[in-house]
């Protein structure tokens, strides 16, 4: 090789990164070329300086990191959202739970409907036996007739819904004091 190789190639040659056909040729050239030998020497100087820099105290950091790794809390499992959580239930338990939920749902619905419609309740206790009637607002008149039309002496207690609002319209038919026990002759 007459021409000197590029300095980048000499750097790669130093790293053993030049392919085999060229490696020998460059070695021969460097042996006979003072200029290239000088480049190689300066690159070697840098390499030796870096190698001296490799002498770092790694034992203490190594021990500290080992301790940190040993006392490390295990990684928390990924959080599963409630909506994506799967629950395994035996079929009978699942059926029972569904029936229970359905019953509860119906009960709540009935109670809600009753409270919404505002039932008027009348309790009658003829001869020690207690009867209960409950009618919505629009049937109050019929209820009063039924109570008034009784031919025997009975004690009746009329209970109005707690949140009832009575508005006097025309001839008042019913007042809040209707809650007072009324004696029939």
């Amino acid at each position: 090789m007459r021409m000197c190789p590029d300095r980048q190639i000499l750097s790669a040659y130093l790293d053993g990164e030049v392919g085999s056909p060229w490696e020998g040729t460059i070695a021969e050239h460097v042996a006979s070329c003072e200029s290239c030998r000088s480049v190689i020497d300066s690159l070697q100087t840098v390499r030796h300086a870096l190698q001296r820099g490799a002498e770092v105290d790694w034992q203490q950091p190594m021990d500290r990191v080992r301790q940190r790794l040993l006392h490390r809390q295990p990684a928390a499992p990924p959080k599963e959202t409630v909506w994506r959580r799967q629950v395994a239930l035996p079929v009978p338990v699942a059926v029972l739970a569904a029936a229970l939920l359905l019953t509860l749902g119906v009960a709540v619905a009935v109670l809600a409907a009753r409270s919404n419609y505002g039932y008027v309740r009348v309790t009658r206790a003829p001869g020690g036996t207690e009867f209960q009637f409950a009618v919505p607002y629009d049937k109050v008149e019929a209820l009063l007739k039924s109570v008034g039309g009784s031919d025997s002496a009975v004690e009746s207690v009329m209970t109005l819904p707690k949140n009832v609002k009575l508005v006097p319209v025309g001839e008042p038919m019913m007042v809040k004091s209707a809650n007072v026990p009324r004696k029939k002759q």
Partner: protein
């Protein structure tokens, strides 16, 4: 079969004992800060522990750990660049104050002339050289890690050596 290949994957202890010095050197020379280098090693080995699939040999483990260190060190490098910019800004406003602050940071971060010279190299030259000299990676591996061609690796390593040689010869690096 090379000396680092095993019939069964090496245990974590073997990997740790063998590779910690290499990974620590690489981290230290890339970041120039002992504490950060230690933290990077800690993070890298945690990631290795959490890997689901076993790594077959030490050479592969080393390559994998250096890749993790490279990714983690990027954040540090960004912060360092911001700090350097802040220093240069400060030096324009108050030259005396910036000089003393920078000297203090240099004193804390560098403990050798080699490290000081490495710190002065741009990140894209420093990293290939460190991976080559301290990680003993081939040009092909470095290229794959950095997403550049082997030819580019060759150029960067040469330029890094050239600049480093100049800096060391001039002796302008800070020596504690």
């Amino acid at each position: 079969m090379s000396s680092t290949e095993y019939a069964h994957p090496p245990s974590f202890n073997v990997v740790y004992e063998t590779l910690f010095p290499v990974i620590y050197r690489v981290s230290l020379r890339v970041t120039g800060d002992r504490e950060i280098a230690e933290d990077l090693c800690h993070e890298a080995f945690i990631k290795l522990m959490e890997r689901n699939d076993a790594i077959s040999d030490l050479e592969q483990s080393k390559y994998w750990l250096i890749r993790v260190v490279k990714n983690l060190s990027l954040n540090h490098e960004k912060r360092r660049t911001r700090e350097k910019k802040a220093f240069s800004k400060l030096s324009r406003i108050s030259p005396g104050l910036a000089d003393s602050s920078e000297k203090q940071v240099m004193k804390e971060e560098t403990r050798s002339d080699v490290q000081a010279a490495l710190n002065d190299l741009p990140y894209n030259l420093r990293v290939p050289l460190v991976f080559r000299e301290y990680g003993d990676l081939s040009y092909k591996q470095i290229g794959a890690l950095l997403g550049i061609t082997e030819s580019n690796v060759k150029v960067r390593i040469f330029r890094a050596r050239e600049r480093l040689g100049k800096a060391l010869a001039e002796g302008d690096a800070y020596v504690s």
